[in-house]
Amino acid sequence: MLDVPHRPTESDHEPDHSSAPIAPSIMNGSVNSWVPHDIVMKDTWFPLAHGFAVGKKPVRRAIYSHPYYLWRENGVAVASEFHPNERRTGEKSPYTNAAGHYPVMERYGYVWGWFGRPEAADPAHLPSLPFLPPNGNLPKYLLGTVRFDCSAPLSLENLIDLTHADFLHANVVGDEKSESEDVEVFTTSETITMVRTCKGKSVAPVMKFFSGIKTPVQDIRQVIHIYLRSHCAIAYGRFEPGDDVPLFHPCVPETRDRTRLDYTMNTSNAGFMFRHIMPRASYVVSRQDSSMTSPQSPRYMREEKRRDLHSPFDSAGQKYRSLMLDLAKRQAVGDFDYRDNVSDDCSDLIGLRKELFRY
């Protein structure tokens, strides 16, 4: 299954990563004064498009402003730096093979493009998404696209920071009142995982209306699992009483200041109403997030003397910043190795109820 049809055996010329100037914000960057705008992650798979969106006619995507044209030849996805009709004027980039093609693979209902040294492309670096069928094929109402007017790391910082939900998303997820709350954070050099358990939290309004939850409170287990390099995240909520809501939330950095999110929310196990409505909640929720992350983004484009303040609730976010900086620093000096595996099944880590998602 894991197979990269367009993986070049050898890249035709070695990208010169070492001579690129290293942003001081990366090398001296500290957690409380980071500049996410300057972070460019290499040697990773980005989910460029939902599989259904790629057909015979090329569609255009971008990773850090590098063009990715996607189409299918005999049903097989191609990711090219050039449009087939394009009159080529400039040099090709070091990220593609002699034909101008990027390594590409298809899985979980997405066409994934590799950004980095082509010879390093390996399916072993594809994030594990155990709640999605490997061959895709989920109904379209579970999929959608939203965009954020901010850098991708800010979007993910927003995702892993759950305290904002009580203010920004109160009308969707309910207010801040709960009997007890516990947050745990686990990390590797390639991932960060946050698990939040709440007992007796007021029932989320969406569930009240569309899942018919009658009790005043519910227990919640929420997991955010981020693959740092690919900017892919899993947001998995288990509600008791209520449903299982696993969301694949990839924050693709089309440019350093704009983010594309082709999501899949696999609510196929929930009741009819909830199953159809919940994936659409993203349109509301993403605008609420964007109202904060979009004014934030220009304020994180340059180094600032002032350091951000934080509270104990920010432990996951702080950790996310520091892991990203560690990776960026390593890459800046030419170390692109994966020290931890990202494609191993993460079901246990995220506490997936496997009986609901058997693929």
Partner: protein
């Protein structure tokens, strides 16, 4: 902005724009500012940037006790000092080190304007005798502060509109200094059938302006040949973000206005600051009073500096 302007009092809101429920955003140059009224009715001004994750505080709300709450994670600040008072859900320890604060600015309210000084310790401005004129408005013009003032000096037709009034190029008094302000008086005509201004022996109305050399705050008085005051306006242009000038104004129509053109001034919307400037006309506008303005301003500020030394 020059150094004098950095420590000036700027009218960045009209009193009625600032309420006790929803904070508002304004700016002085590139400095974003959040304004709100606390529970004693006092206007507070902080940097419009939450020191937690840099979200604009103006997207938040005002609490019942008059403190401001950020809309992102709900941190709560007190307006007088800018200090952080509360982090929601943090049950224990709600005492924060002094570093946990937003930057605060000086605030002063008079004459229906809210003045802010980027220097929080600045002495309040000299009490003005301004009464609060009832009519008011706020306009943003895509022109720099100095360019807007120069247009006002050289041809008010480009930036102001007063019902029935045409501003002529002829001055009764050229720009000069009077009690620390730049003062001039311009002849005006009613927009009726009359001789073109270059051939008119008399003009029925004049516009007297007195402008602060640093902020450009301008008091305008329109009066007829018998010295009846037809209209009084306070214009407060403020340099805002991206070279835009925001002009807040307050106006009052005079009581005694003989003549039917003057009577028509009593109608609604008789005074306006133009929201945009005719670029073609502006480009070829010959500098006249604005030239004097440059010299006078430099002299006045110089004198102040020498006096201060």
């Amino acid at each position: 902005m020059d150094s004098n302007q950095k420590t000036a009092w700027w009218a960045i809101a009209r009193s009625e724009e600032v309420g006790g429920k929803k904070p508002i955003n304004a700016d002085i140059g590139d400095q974003p500012i959040v304004l709100w009224r606390d529970n004693e009715g006092i206007v507070r001004a902080l940097e419009d940037r939450c020191p937690h994750r840099r979200a604009p505080l103006s997207l938040g709300c005002v609490r019942d006790n008059g403190w401001i709450q950020c809309g992102y994670h709900g941190w709560i600040y007190e307006g007088e000092t800018g200090r952080l008072k509360e982090i929601p859900n943090m049950k224990d320890k709600q005492k924060f080190p002094p570093l946990y604060r937003a930057i605060r600015f000086g605030v002063h309210e008079s004459g229906g304007f809210v003045y802010v000084n980027l220097d929080a310790e600045a002495a309040p401005p000299a009490p003005s005798t301004n009464t609060t004129y009832a009519l008011s408005g706020t306009v943003a013009v895509a022109l720099s502060h100095q360019d807007w003032l120069d247009a006002l000096f050289d041809d008010p037709n480009l930036v102001l509109a007063i019902r029935g009034i045409g501003f002529t190029p002829y001055l009764m008094t050229e720009l000069h200094e009077e009690q620390g302000r730049l003062v001039m008086e311009r002849s005006c005509q009613w927009r009726l059938l009359h001789w073109p201004a270059p051939f008119s022996p008399e003009f029925p109305v004049t516009m007297l302006t007195a402008t602060d050399p640093i902020t450009g705050h301008t008091d305008v008085t329109l009066r007829d040949a018998d010295f009846n005051e037809l209209l009084r306006v306070a214009l407060a242009p403020v340099p805002a973000a991206r070279g835009v000038t925001q002009i807040r104004w307050r106006a009052e129509i005079g009581e005694n206005r003989p003549g039917w053109m003057a009577k028509l001034l009593g109608m609604k919307d008789s005074f306006a600051v133009r929201p945009s400037v005719d670029g073609a006309a502006l480009r070829v506008l010959k500098p006249s009073a604005s030239r004097h303005g440059e010299e006078l301003r430099a002299n006045m500020l110089n004198k102040d500096a020498v006096a201060a030394a």
